[in-house]
Amino acid sequence: MAKKTTNHTDLKEKPIPEGRHLLEVDNLKMFFHTEDGIVHAVNGVSYTLDRGETLGVVGESGSGKSVTAMTIMGLIDMPPGKIEGGHVYYRGESLLDMTEEQMQHIRGNDIAMIFQDPMTSLNPVYKIGRQVGEGLRLHRGYSKKEALERAVELLHLVGIPNPEKRVNEYPHQFSGGMRQRAMIAMALACDPDILIADEPTTALDVTIQAQIIELMQEMQEKNGNAIIMITHDLGVVADMADKIMVMYAGRPVEFGTADEIFYDSRHPYTWGLIRSIPEQAIDEKKPLTPIHGNPPSLVNLPAGCPFAPRCPYAVDICHEKEPVHITTETGHYSACHFADDPEFLKFAPDTSRSRGNIATGSPDTIDTKPTGGEA
């Protein structure tokens, strides 16, 4: 494990080529070949991400949101996984063409990841300080002592009190929130370009959840890294994401800025996700509007639009023809046959803007004018 300082030039020192983005995912497809059939886990995912930006990836469990991130990180076992098409470029370099050795250098150093369950992702037999400093020793060739010193600084940075003492403690001596803070410290140790957070707050209490989100935002302001935030709860990404990708059955069904997703959503699945969340500011309780049914099997995808069987608005064409992405000039796309029909978009849920509850400076932002360009 403990290699000498490698000769890799740090990719994150390399300037992003003209006209390119920090991370470009282009029509990425990754299928699992299992004995039950081919699992279409990642099916045509595309997005771009720049430094300082936050991308929210939202969807139900089994929608492929975590697998997409794992594919980008090269953490999928191949086989049974297999890249079936598409590209992933990080600073203009193709990640899919890199050797395992190169990827090991990328992981943790350029792109770091934090997971949902901070208990199982920390090794119970090593002290916190050693685990936080491990990346520095691995990627930066720090000595044991230097790494530990830096670990103390990092723990201090993520708001763990008494870091000098706590570096010498074991994960079980930390509370859930503290462990997630330690995970963030670990992920940020090598000052990565991109931080992928896979449901980082789902296992935590609400008050701790708020702390962790605030911490991630603070760290982002300080370091300028990009964040990919994977969650099943649209509420979590509401005030943190710049862009949001909504995934369903391994495909991105809608992609746009946070404003576009929340106030000008063009896909019934996104509407369903928004409507599922219990509203707080209501006078009378009305039943929630859930999305009926369950996500489809990724082996036997329904014909036509994969969401059609659960979509309350589905008509014949939805069961027959797979929708293409309909894109607006701002890059907001939706995989719904009717995304460009203003009449159809009137079915979208009420928002604070459409109700005019909140003074935003632009009271009526529901964009009903037909948009051009069908992709």
Binding site: G37, H292, P312, A314, D340, E343
Partner: protein, 319 residues
């Protein structure tokens, strides 16, 4: 594309929604399978375990049907015919005597076949005894805990602290030498490890929510054990008992080898090895043939147990 607002009745949409909720339970949408069915499917994919199972069935069939054909073909396994001794003593393996003959001129194959009867019988019955005692002890210790647990598990520790074969020998000496007492002794002394395995299996199941759910429904202790705890911990017992048959066979062979088990002229594999050791250099097949029988049978039980362990593990599903 225009959305056909008027053509789509709300009723049709709602019906589609209900369909979606109620259709297809499983992710794969495949027909219903039972857990045991799934286990069988997984076991079938384990070639080693299947070969082991076929071998065990073959040995068992040969042993069970031996009276019908073996003696006519190969002669008596227990005969002490002095004339045969002179003519056919210590013959090497040949077409007439595939495994060779022993010092008294008896065919070794037929003795191995009749030895299989004794070995399998002792293995199965001894394991049955250990399993029954072990299950009861393990269940009492785990389910009621406290003082039951302490007494039973300390007793098990004491049993396990004695040299096993020595303990079996002492017990046979006390009970008197007979085939029955051999398996009774092996069986009685084999319970502690089964009790341990069963106890820990129960403890993990006992903590589960569905056992709490049953308690909350007002289920009696007997029902909880029979319907919830037993079915979910039996897998580990099936696995352990399968492997235990192998080790009981081995124990029987050891004590027969030491002269305290099955008595001559009954053909036990252990005795045959003991008989053969004097001729190790001149007629090695005397030892090799029963040795191979022990090796292959014990190995088969171990491999089958291993296969069952993988096949019965529910946790391997639903990752």
């Amino acid at each position: 594309m225009k959305y056909p607002v008027s053509t789509q009745g709300a009723g049709a949409a709602a019906a589609a929604v209900v369909d979606a909720t109620k259709s297809g339970g499983s992710a794969s949408g495949a027909a219903s399978r039972t857990l045991w069915g799934d286990a069988w499917k997984r076991l079938r994919q384990n070639k080693l375990a299947i070969v082991a199972a076929i071998w065990i069935i073959f040995v068992a069939l040969v042993a069970i049907t031996a009276d019908l054909w073996a003696q006519q073909w190969l002669g008596s396994p227990t005969a002490a015919d002095t004339t045969a001794m002179a003519t056919s003593s210590l013959l090497p393996p040949s077409l007439e005597h595939p495994f060779g003959t022993d010092v008294t001129g008896r065919d070794i194959l037929v003795r191995v076949i009749y030895g299989a009867r004794i070995s399998l019988t002792i293995g199965l019955l001894a394991t049955a005894i250990s399993t029954v005692i072990g299950l009861v002890m393990g269940a009492l210790a785990a389910y009621y805990g406290g003082i039951f647990d302490t007494i039973i598990m300390r007793a098990a520790d004491i049993f396990l602290a004695f040299p096993y074969v020595l303990f079996v020998l002492c017990l046979i000496a006390a009970l008197g030498q007979s085939i029955t007492n051999v398996f009774v002794a092996i069986g009685i002394l084999g319970w502690p490890s089964i009790a341990r395995v069963f106890r820990s299996a129960i403890l993990s199941v006992k903590e589960s929510d569905y056992v709490d759910a049953a308690r909350a429904m007002g289920a009696s202790d007997a029902r909880i054990i029979a319907r919830h705890i037993f079915p979910n911990s039996v897998a580990s017992i099936v696995v352990y008992a399968t492997m235990n048959i192998g080790s009981a066979i081995l124990t029987e062979a050891s004590i027969s080898f030491l002269g305290m088990g099955v008595q001559p002229p009954n053909p036990s594999w252990g005795i045959m090895i003991q008989d053969g050791q004097a001729y190790l250099m001149t007629a090695p097949w005397l030892m090799i043939m029963p040795g191979l029988a022990i090796l292959s049978t014990v190995l088969a039980f171990t491999l089958l147990g291993d296969g069952l362990r993988d096949a019965l593990d529910v946790k391997m599903k639903d990752a």
